[in-house]
Each structure stands twice: as structure tokens, then as C-alpha cells.
């Protein structure tokens, strides 16, 4: 395993509030890492710092220069926006003109959509999709352009439990198939135990980092989430 990137002493201050403080961890190529923590713990901010969309102190050292795929949290948008799935992918491809995708572009988009089995939605408007379909389209969007590192922010927010497990299973299979490194923000501890190789626990500061079965002790969970949290921490 080779080192992909290192986060050293990362601190993010938004306004006058420290959203993240002195966070450090290392990520190896092929890692599937879950980022957990209570609301307001700085999980999304960590992903944004990795994307370079928030100013930060400390260092993020990239040992390789991976192409990054990103799927944001709870994707809110105007449902009447007439953008089609195909047009969304064309935007990402950097195509200056949306007027006419080439057959090659169309083919690539179809291939990306087939990863999550939604290729039939290529010509549909984003606003007409169900939340489950939208999630699958956005996972395919994250995979489009052959990324080496995937950042998923709560990929299952707004999806029912049955579908949730499918999405994580899907993510794991895709990560294995394409040899991707993945950082997944999640609330679901049971999912973390089942799918993640390592876990980063945040509570503004770094609470723990390592293999979930080792570092997610009942005491750790209680300090992260408060009393009663160990209820979710049962092993599968």
C-alpha cells in the first residue's frame, strides 16, 4: 500500500469559530475510510478542505496527485431547473458547449451511469428523479472522469434503510472494482463496521483514527455521541 495523502494539524476557522482543530491522519491508496461524528463535528468541512474550497491552516500533503470525485451532502437544488442527467455530466466533463454531445461523450456518460444501473435516466431531467435515483446518478457523477479518490458526503441521506445498505454495498463493490480510495461521511455506525477499513472520528478535534473494531470502543462512542450511543455500535 502506498501513501496517498497526509493531513497534518488541519484547522479550519469559519468566521470566528474553529470548525476543525488540529486534525491529523494518513490515507493509503485503496483505503475505504468512514468519517463519523455528531452534527457540527466538521465532517463536511474536512471534505471541503481536501477539495480546497475552504481556507485552512496546517498541511494537506498529497503524495500522489489524484483526480478527485465529489458528491455533496443532501443535494438541494431547484427541482424545476431543466438540467438533464446528460447535461450534468457534460458540465463535469468541462465541455464548453452543451449544445451537442459527441457520440463518444454520450457513450462515456452511459458507461458511468451503468455503474449504478441508471443508464436509462440519461435523458431525464434531474428534477424528475426520485431521491434514490438522484443518489445513484450522483454516485455515477462522482465516478465520472475516472477519479482515483472519491469523497462522498453522507451518500445515503434521505434514503430508506433498505436502499441505504445497497448504496454502501454498491460503493464498496465499485471501490474494489476500480481500485479507488474513498472517504465516506456517514452517520450510520453499523454501516461503518460492515464496510469501512478505517474510521476517522471527529468532534471538531480528532477523536480517533484506525480500524473501526479497534478504535470504536463504547467509551469512545459515548464521548462522541453522548449516552446511549453504544446502542448503534453493535457488531455485525
Amino acid at each position: 500500500m502506498s501513501l496517498l495523502f497526509e493531513v497534518q494539524d488541519l484547522t479550519v476557522i469559519l468566521g470566528k469559530t474553529a470548525v476543525l482543530e488540529s486534525v491529523s491522519f494518513k490515507v493509503e491508496k485503496g483505503d475505504v475510510i468512514a468519517v463519523i461524528g455528531p452534527n457540527g463535528a466538521g465532517k463536511t468541512t474536512l471534505l471541503r478542505a481536501l477539495l480546497g474550497t475552504v481556507p485552512y491552516e496546517g498541511r494537506i500533503i498529497w503524495h500522489q496527485n489524484p483526480r478527485i470525485g465529489y458528491v455533496p451532502q443532501r443535494f438541494d437544488f431547484d427541482r424545476t431547473y431543466p438540467l438533464t442527467v446528460e447535461e450534468l455530466f457534460l458540465l463535469k466533463s468541462g465541455s464548453r458547449s452543451l449544445w451537442a454531445p459527441t457520440p463518444a461523450q454520450s457513450g462515456e456518460i452511459k458507461k458511468a451511469l451503468s455503474h449504478t444501473e441508471v443508464e436509462q435516466l440519461q435523458k431525464h431531467k434531474l428534477g424528475e428523479l426520485s431521491s434514490g435515483q438522484l443518489q445513484r446518478v450522483f454516485i455515477a457523477y462522482g465516478l465520472f472522469g475516472a477519479p482515483e479518490l472519491l469523497l462522498f458526503d453522507e451518500p445515503t441521506a434521505g434514503i430508506d434503510i433498505g436502499a441505504e445498505m445497497t448504496v454502501y454495498g454498491l460503493l464498496r463493490d465499485i471501490a474494489q472494482e476500480l481500485n479507488l480510495t474513498m472517504l465516506v461521511v456517514s452517520h450510520e455506525l453499523s454501516v461503518v463496521y460492515t464496510y469501512a477499513k478505517k474510521v476517522v472520528c471527529l468532534n471538531k478535534t480528532m477523536a480517533c483514527f484506525g480500524v473501526p473494531q479497534k478504535v470504536l470502543t463504547p467509551e469512545q462512542l459515548q464521548s462522541l455521541y453522548g449516552a446511549g450511543a453504544d446502542f448503534y455500535g453493535h457488531e455485525h
Partner: protein
């Protein structure tokens, strides 16, 4: 020529104005031009120049204030628009010149004005086409746009500046009260009848041209003021679009 150039520019940009739910921002912004035009008339300068200067200053001020305050763009435009209208009314030298500023007249367009208008229409069309991807991303989600390398703040400022250019030109063509119609109606018609972003932008541009050229033509034949006729034609097309709406 003037009508075609401005019609395409206004309605193409109008696509994003409508999608970003800023329909009335363009309309309100047009009033900010009034004090500039009033001052220009007083000092015997081209009113277009006064309009452009005031609109640019207002847009830059609005964009800067928005970054550092909790107020949304439409509220800030509202502040500038009411202030512009009030100051403009106080500064206007006569009722007649104020009326002309408000309603415009394509028939009275001087050659230089016409050339400026054609140039501005082309400029807005070209920049909108070049930045189509950035505008489309920004409209969908500023966060997603940022993550894909779109310079969000700069794109936002360019968008507002283009809106200011279009509003200034629209003032000379159809008047401040009617420029809003040209921004809003073609894009709304296009949104009603199309199923993709590229379809919407294309139809909006076509409808914009049809409304301006058709409206001006009808006004010429029946000796009517072109501004209101252009708006009426556009509104008529909107009515039709409600019936051909995609299911």
C-alpha cells in the same frame, strides 16, 4: 440588426436570470439607472453612458455588500432600486425626459446608440455562451461549481455585470419599465415548452428575437410605440406557451 442582437443577448442571459429566481432583479435593477440618466440629461451627455456608469457601480456595490452581509441579492437590489428611483425622480430635469427614459423609443435611436446596442448585445451573447458551463453549474449549486473549479465569486460578478449591460441597453430600446419583460418572458416561455437546459436557452433566444423584431415591425406598421408592442407580443407568446406546455 439592433433588435436581433439585443433580443438574443437579453433572452439568453434571461435563461439564467429565471433559473436563479432573480426574475424581478433585472426589472428592479433597471431603476438604478434613472439617477445616472437624469444626471446625463442635465449635463447634456448621452443618457446611455449615465445609465451604464450607475448600473455598474450599483452591481459592484451589491456584489461586494452581499459577500460581507447576511442579505440576499434581491434585498440589496431592492435597496438600490428604490433609492435609484427616488433620487432619479428628484434629479430628472423635466417630466418629458423622465417619461422617455422610462419608456424609451427604438424609433428615436441615434446611429451611435444603435451601434452601442448591437455591440453590447453581441458582447453579452458571446460572454454568456463562453461562460455557459460556469453559469449552469453556479445555478445548480455554488458548492458543486466550486468543487469543479468554477471561480464562483468572479462568475457571480460577471453575471451581474452582464445583467447591468443588458438592462442599460434595454433602457434605450424598450424603456426601463419594459426591459424586465424582455429578460423574463422569453426565458419563461422557453422553460414552459422545453425539457433540457440547452433547449431552454435556444428557445429563449429565438423567442427574444421574434418578440423584438415582430413587436417593432407591428409598431412600425400601426404607428404605435414599439416598447409596449414588444412586451404585448412577448406576453401573447407566453399565453400560447401555457397551452403547448410539455406534460
Amino acid at each position: 440588426m439592433t433588435g436581433v442582437s439585443v433580443g438574443i443577448g437579453v433572452s439568453l442571459l434571461g435563461t439564467f436570470v429565471i433559473l436563479r429566481r432573480m426574475a424581478l432583479v433585472g426589472d428592479a435593477l433597471s431603476h438604478v439607472a434613472l439617477p445616472g440618466m437624469a444626471l446625463a440629461v442635465t449635463y447634456k451627455l448621452n443618457p446611455f453612458l449615465g445609465a451604464v456608469v450607475f448600473l455598474f457601480l450599483a452591481v459592484i456595490a451589491i456584489t461586494l455588500i452581499e459577500r460581507h452581509s447576511v442579505l440576499p441579492v434581491d434585498a440589496l437590489v431592492g435597496v438600490f432600486f428604490t433609492a435609484g428611483l427616488g433620487v432619479g425622480a428628484l434629479l430628472s430635469p423635466s417630466a418629458e425626459s423622465l417619461l422617455e427614459a422610462l419608456f424609451g423609443d427604438i424609433a428615436k435611436l441615434h446611429m451611435v446608440d444603435a451601434e452601442i446596442a448591437v455591440g453590447a448585445g453581441l458582447l453579452v451573447t458571446i460572454v454568456t455562451m463562453l461562460l455557459f458551463r460556469d453559469f449552469a453549474y453556479l445555478t445548480l449549486s455554488p458548492e458543486l461549481a466550486h468543487s469543479e473549479g468554477v471561480p464562483v465569486q468572479r462568475t457571480e460578478l460577471i453575471f451581474m455585470l452582464l445583467l447591468a449591460v443588458i438592462v442599460a441597453v434595454g433602457i434605450k430600446l424598450v424603456g426601463t419599465l419594459l426591459v424586465g419583460a424582455l429578460i423574463i418572458i422569453p426565458a419563461s416561455i422557453a422553460k414552459n415548452v422545453t425539457g433540457s437546459l440547452r433547449g431552454m436557452a435556444f428557445v429563449s433566444a429565438v423567442v427574444g428575437v421574434v418578440a423584438v423584431v415582430g413587436g417593432s415591425g407591428i409598431a412600425g406598421v400601426f404607428h404605435l410605440p414599439p416598447g409596449p408592442v414588444v412586451t404585448t407580443v412577448a406576453a401573447g407568446l407566453f399565453l400560447v406557451s401555457l397551452f403547448v406546455r410539455r406534460s
